[in-house]
């Protein structure tokens, strides 16, 4: 067989990238013209999330039967209420011994149940804005929902990350992809920047970076123990992006001390000083999402004609990264794709690939244990 399918991570000097910026609920799209140029921080759509609801036991408060609560209402269903406002009052006996209930929140009286005597109060809506995230232009509009922003950019896909969307200047800080990022590297100069490290960083480095105001760290590997120390808990399933730790982290290779792929490091270093959009959100389940570094580039119209290539096919000469022990993290070229399954050390018979490592050594390993470095 001449080729095989395998997924991979994209690291490319130039690509056309589209990002969907959709509201969680229907709302208003702020930009209504296709082709409009946008900056990363421009708001492209707005909406209001329905406020939180509060069940309020009116029958209990008034001490009446559930069927009588409706007659005691002082506010219409759907009407506005303010905190402390009387929303229901019983008639009492001869105008005396009245029982009343006051609203505990500002909002609306959404509904009242004549079966349970429970009112549902809703807090005021919460405004939600969606920004463009990347510099680019609007290429598609979803009425009432959002837009698609397109950009020509350099693009680095990481394997795992934490923290949400952020933006800053690319700031390489180590001289070599195998160099470890240390506490001493984090200086006040790093504030507001996307710091490009090398092979590894500890929880102390992450902590200092967050304190210094670093926007993001891009690094080859981290230890799981350090990550736990930094965020304060063990990650169960890999759904990240909502950590409130004051820093976005993008790991390009994996867990452990692993040098960043030279290609990734060179690309990021060549972009020193450029503005980048970074997102650490990772979801390795039900709609995979990998962390990313997007560096928009200004091009002439001719340069923008970039063809999409079919990705995911492994052929002789394809650049791959080994993603399992014993050669974890090494980069090489596919030198042979034997079609028949072969027995490996575990005695399992699997489909294999021969990879020529950068030092010239050849290794035979399961095809499942390599990933493409896509361009």
């Amino acid at each position: 067989m001449a080729h095989a399918y395998t997924p991979g991570l994209m690291v490319t000097e130039r690509t056309v990238l589209r990002k969907e910026r959709r509201l969680p609920l229907k709302g208003k799209v702020a930009l209504d013209k296709i082709g409009t140029e946008v900056k990363a921080l421009d708001v492209v759509a707005r909406t209001e999330l329905p406020g939180n609801v509060l069940p309020f036991n009116l029958a209990g408060k008034l001490g009446t039967a559930t069927s009588d609560v409706k007659n005691a209402l002082k506010v219409e269903i759907g009407g506005t209420i303010t905190k402390g406002q009387m929303i229901a009052e019983t008639k009492g006996f001869m105008g005396l011994f009245k029982a009343s209930a006051r609203s505990p929140i500002d909002g609306t009286l959404e509904s009242l149940s004549d079966v349970t005597g429970q009112a549902i109060l809703r807090e005021p809506p919460q405004p939600v804005e969606k920004d463009a995230y990347i510099d680019g232009k609007i290429v598609e509009i979803f009425p009432e929902e959002g837009v698609v922003v397109e950009t020509v950019c350099s693009f680095v896909q990481g394997i795992f990350g934490i923290g949400g969307e952020t933006r800053g200047e690319i700031f390489p800080i180590v001289g070599d992809p195998s160099e470890e990022l240390t506490v001493n590297h984090i200086t006040p100069e790093c504030k507001g920047k996307i710091v490009i490290g090398g092979s590894f960083c500890t929880s102390e480095v992450m902590k200092k970076a967050a304190e210094t105001g670093v926007k993001a760290i891009v690094v080859g590997g981290v230890d799981d123990e350090d990550l736990k120390k930094f965020i304060g808990y063990d990650i169960g399933v890999a759904i990240t992006g909502h950590e409130d730790v004051g820093l976005t982290l993008v790991v390009t290779e994996g867990f452990g001390k692993i040098a960043m792929a030279k290609k990734t490091f060179r690309l990021l270093c060549s972009k020193k000083g450029s503005m980048a959009s970074v997102n650490g959100a990772t979801q390795i389940r039900a709609g995979v999402m990998r962390p990313e570094v997007i560096i928009p580039i200004k091009l002439s119209d001719d340069d923008k004609k970039i063809e999409f290539k079919e990705s995911g096919m492994m052929e002789i000469g394809t650049l791959v990264r080994i993603i399992r022990e014993p050669n974890f993290g090494m980069i090489g070229e596919v030198s042979e794709l034997p079609p028949e399954p072969r027995q490996i050390e575990t005695e399992a018979k699997v489909r294999v690939v021969k990879v020529k490592l950068q030092d010239g050594k050849q290794v035979l390993l399961p095809r499942a244990n390599v990933e493409l470095i896509e361009e």
């Binding site: 067989m1 399918y5 395998t6 997924p7 994209m10 959709r22 969680p24 609920l25 229907k26 329905p50 939180n52 609801v53 509060l54 069940p55 509904s111 149940s113 079966v115 349970t116 429970q118 549902i120 929902e145 394997i159 795992f160 230890d223 799981d224 123990e225 063990d234 990650i235 169960g236 399933v237 890999a238 994996g254 867990f255 452990g256 990772t282 390795i284 389940r285 039900a286 709609g287 995979v288 999402m289 990998r290 990705s311 995911g312 993603i323 399992r324 022990e325 014993p326 974890f328 079609p339 490996i344 050390e345 575990t346 005695e347 399992a348 390993l365 399961p366 499942a368 244990n369 990933e371």
Partner: protein, 608 residues
């Protein structure tokens, strides 16, 4: 779809959370039966950058094509006009890609209708994200917040026996309406809600939920206290899964148009097969399917109160070997995983290896050391999933049992787990780590360590992980499914004999004596694991004599006469104890013990 008699070539796929597997089944006219021909696999492509499940399906079918040298695809379409050299007669599929079906259930009383609702949802192959009940000790606003945050694919609302409470059912409906839940896929769709509760509350529920949700009403799943009627709710869940959930997932519409029958959720298909095995052979069975994201446990045990076999299924979301592997670490804890690793290992190293598997879920162990670590984690995933299953597989709670005088000394409380390991006849393992273990003895030992079978239990494993395919095939062509299951799928590993001790015993104490019909006799002392040669297909009568402090099902010290069956592993005698089963705490002692057990069963090539 072609008439059954004309079906000779069957293509089946299962889109798992990590891998899409394809198998080709053909009728061998010479012997007149269906056989598995070949299997192919490829990474599942429900996710970015492809976001189209059919690409993974095509890739796995391409591998089948290449391995069997038969043309099945033309212009990325399955050829349905079969000839001698190309095409297939039918194409069927199961799926759990995209996280499967995720549900919330609600009922009035946590241990009664809410539990029945959870059973109905689990039985339909869904993951139950949360159970809301009026007595779940949460405040109303906390329940509402939970519904809003979890964003389930659908909600099953039950509550009240027919003629019972309506107020509490209305209250639950009000909570759901107030939460105004939105589905995961498709922001413009209304969330499907199934009401399967008190028929007198239907109007109230309709009034509260009709506008805000896509409401469906089916028969009450617990019409009277003593009876569950789960089928209507299960069937509706399955229909809605196809129409609303799967259809929204990337590429499913296309896949649905390719298949000749509805796509089934993977756990639903496996459960169907396990249930069939139990029924056909009239035995009590436990089946387990350990996947990348979830571990599903199925059991058929006789309910002693109802005096009939009861099928139970649990889907342990977040206990799996790839996407969920880190959660196994978080739930089991490092020491529990480490206790199965037969060499010295740094905790930091173990943590990083587990994380690396999580972020690159499709990789496979290449070195023996990696294999041992993965099989250590699998034991914990299986153990935890089984604990959850035992907790869920219980008789009906809250039922007033009628008893005769003969039951007076056998009174069990209602809601006791139906799982009775001493009466278990067969334990079947499936899923990557069990089906693809390089040596079958490894699967046997993983299952023994995790499930701790008692008495005499036959161990079996799905040869190459095709139970989901055969489950869905059994709905359209039961004969083909049975033939392939018997001949190519179910590998018998052999019987496991495990006596249960009365109190803690010392290694070396006298424990078990076996007398075979052939005259051969064997004795096994306490605290060991032994393997006796007993080839596949061989059956022999034997009398098992436990020591007076040990029980094999007939009582302490009482012998049992049984027919022992061999398998690809042999006859395993496990006298390591069950009360409880313990592994030494010190590194050296632990490694010595594990190595000895591994040697006894010839588990790894480096431990001869």
């Amino acid at each position: 779809m072609k008439p059954k008699e004309q079906i000779k070539t069957i293509l089946a796929t299962d889109c798992g959370s990590t891998t899409t597997k394809a198998i080709l089944i053909q009728k061998d006219d010479k012997v007149g039966r269906y056989r598995l021909i070949v299997r192919g696999e490829a990474p599942t492509t429900v996710e970015s950058p492809f976001e189209d499940v059919t690409i993974g399906v095509l890739n796995s079918v391409k591998e089948v094509e290449e391995l069997v040298d038969r043309k099945i695809l033309e212009n990325d379409k399955i050829i349905k006009d079969r000839s001698e050299s190309e095409g297939v007669d039918i194409y069927i599929s199961t799926s759990s890609a995209g996280g499967g079906l995720q549900m919330m259930v609600a009922g009035v009383v946590k241990n009664m209708t809410a539990e029945s609702a959870a059973r109905a949802a689990l039985g339909a192959g869904s993951i139950v994200m949360d159970v809301i009940a009026t007595n779940d000790k949460r405040l109303p606003h906390q329940r509402i917040e939970r519904i809003r945050n979890l964003r389930p694919d659908m909600i099953l609302l039950s509550g009240g026996i027919d003629g019972g409470t309506t107020k509490h059912v209305a209250e639950l409906a009000e909570l759901i309406a107030a939460a105004d839940p939105k589905p995961r896929f498709g922001s413009t769709f209304k969330l499907p809600v199934i009401f399967a509760g008190n028929k007198d509350a239907r109007g109230m529920v309709e009034e509260r939920l009709k506008e805000k949700t896509e409401l469906f009403i089916v028969d009450n799943l617990r019409p009277i206290l003593e009876r569950e009627n789960l089928k209507p709710a299960r069937d509706k869940i399955h229909d809605l899964f196809m129409e609303h959930v799967m259809a929204q997932a990337p590429g499913y519409r296309k896949l649905m148009s390719w298949t000749d029958v509805s796509i089934m959720p993977t756990p639903g298909a496996v459960g169907l097969l396990i249930e069939t095995v139990a029924k056909q052979e009239n035995i009590q069975v436990i089946g387990v399917d350990i996947g990348g994201a979830t571990t599903d446990v199925f059991s058929v045990f006789v309910d002693k109160t109802e005096k009939k076999p009861v099928f139970n299924r649990t889907v342990s979301a977040n206990l799996g070997m790839s996407y969920s592997i880190s959660n196994v670490m978080a739930e089991a804890g490092i020491p529990n995983i480490m206790r199965w690793v037969p060499f010295k290992m740094d905790e930091k190293d173990l943590r990083n290896r587990i994380r690396n598997k999580m972020i690159r879920p499709t990789t496979i162990p290449q070195t023996l050391e990696e294999l041992k670590v993965e099989q250590a984690i699998a034991r914990e995933a299986l153990r935890l999933a089984f604990i959850q299953h035992k907790f869920m597989a219980v008789g009906l709670k809250g039922v007033q049992q009628e008893r005769t005088i003969s039951d007076a000394f056998d009174q069990a409380a209602t809601g006791v787990s139906l799982v009775d390991m001493m009466n278990l006849n067969m334990l079947i393992g499936s899923g990557g780590v069990l089906s693809h273990a390089p040596r079958r003895a490894q699967s046997a030992l993983m299952m023994i360590d995790a499930f701790l079978p008692e008495g005499v239990t036959l161990l079996a494993v799905d040869s190459i992980f095709m139970m989901p395919h055969l489950g869905v095939l059994s709905t359209v062509h039961p004969e083909a499914a049975t033939e392939v299951f018997d001949n190519d799928c179910l590998i018998r590993l052999g019987h496991c004999i495990a006596p249960v001790e009365k109190k803690k015993k010392k290694p070396g104490d006298s424990c078990l004596h076996i007398k075979f019909e052939s005259g051969r006799e064997e004795s096994v002392e306490f605290g060991t694991l032994k393997l006796f040669e007993f080839p596949e297909g061989k059956k022999e009568k034997a009398v098992l004599y436990p020591d007076r402090n040990f029980d094999l099902g007939a009582g302490f010290g009482k012998e049992i006469e049984t027919v022992l069956e061999g398998g690809v592993v042999g006859l395993i005698v496990d006298t390591r104890g069950r009360r409880p089963f313990e592994i030494a705490k010190t590194d050296e002692e632990r490694i010595n013990k594990l190595s000895a057990w591994n040697k006894a069963l010839n588990i790894y090539p480096d431990e001869r």
